[in-house]
């Protein structure tokens, strides 16, 4: 039980996927302009990453590993993630239009979010079983959401400031991310 909680906290805070492992930087920098959009993307990522981790784990344990096709995991996982995003999109569109509307265009963007593929591969590398993989996926996605929503909050404040011209745009966002990353380094002292 303790180790399972540790996996979630480790994924969300200690090894934060964006600030510590640099996965999903594109959407982290791109979609963090508005709080609402970031929260929607975060929701979509939590959804997809948890399911993708589960499916990838099952596929690896019951199909790829027994058949000795572990080397195919990159190809299989990326296809599974792409297909999964499509299925989730169609399913939501039909069954829950409200959620679909909220997640909107952010769902297809997730296919190219390297964090999803990254976490599926990391789970395999760490030798996690099914439950551990699902929790790691969930924890990591929560960490992503936390980081992107925090950055969106910071950016909305920066937006009102009068900055020197060369700093406007990407640089100031990267510097904000650097400061967040320093703050998150504090969690590495966390031991449970």
């Amino acid at each position: 039980m303790k180790s399972l909680i540790l996996i979630i906290i480790g994924g969300a805070l200690i090894n934060n996927v964006v600030l510590n492992q640099f996965l999903g930087i594109c959407s982290f920098l791109g979609v963090s302009k508005q709080m609402k959009a970031s929260a929607s993307l975060g929701g979509a990522v939590i959804f997809v990453m948890t399911i993708a981790s589960a499916v990838a784990s099952l596929l690896y344990d019951f199909v790829l590993a027994p058949l000795g096709m572990a080397f195919m995991k990159t190809i299989i996982f990326i296809l599974v993630i792409a297909a999964l995003v499509q299925i989730v999109e169609m399913f939501l569109k039909k069954k829950s239009p409200a959620v679909y509307k909220a997640l909107g265009i952010y769902l297809p963007l997730i296919t190219t979010n390297c964090a999803v593929l990254g976490i599926a591969l990391t789970n395999v590398q760490n030798g996690y079983n099914f439950i551990e993989s699902v929790l790691a996926g969930f924890g990591t996605a929560v960490g992503f959401t936390l980081a992107i929503v925090l950055l969106a909050g910071i950016r909305s404040r920066i937006h009102e400031e009068d900055l020197p011209a060369p700093l406007r745009g990407a640089p100031i966002v990267l510097i904000a991310a650097a400061l967040m990353s320093i703050a998150f380094m504090g969690f590495s002292g966390l031991s449970i």
């Binding site: 640099f22 963007l109 593929l117 745009g169 990407a170 990267l174 991310a177 320093i182 380094m185």
Partner: protein
Amino acid sequence: MKNKYLERLYNGLIKENPTLVLMLGMCPTLAVSTRAANGIGMGLSTTAVLILSNLVISLLRKVIPDQVRLPSYIVIVASLVTVTELLMEAYLPAVFEALGIYIPLIVVNCIILGRAEAYANKHTPLLSVMDGIGMGLGFTIALTLAGLVREVLGNGTAFGARILPEELEPIGIFVQPPGAFIVIAVFIIIMNAIGIKTRQRKLVEQDVCDGNCAACTLMCEEPNEKKEEAAAK
């Protein structure tokens, strides 16, 4: 630039440097730039994949139906990455160990899909290969430069050889995650200050996209291409 093949090299290395101007492939740039040597390793493996994927996609550009082109590209790129990964594990185990998870993640590197979509599927194989070489080397140089700055400041060494005097305590934060953000931010500040506009900034100013690279590579290349065509006329 007269020769159109050399023009591709210049384009990738300087004019549209993927990391510093187009701001693509930020994940590996930030992640593996802790050491200059890592930058070269990552840059060259990405270059290899990029050249081959540009070649294959360019050869198949009339075969692949338009509707399923993105999944097809992903399968091609993923296969090439797997081959690269296995070769590196066999022949360059030290580099493979240092780069870890970021080798398989070349699959989702925006540069590769971006070049496939923006260039290779519209141009001849030879031009596409040159484009791959230019873009790949541009990426390698940017990565190595970032790695060098971080290694010197954060570790006092360059390519593993000590260059700062022993008495000088290196600034450890530069080889840690926050250092990556700071170094890349400073790079872009310098480029902004001396007047080279990053594409991200151009696009944000034009309000074409949110600065999201996934959306960018797939949608935003068009105006650029049109401009090039107009210039050619």
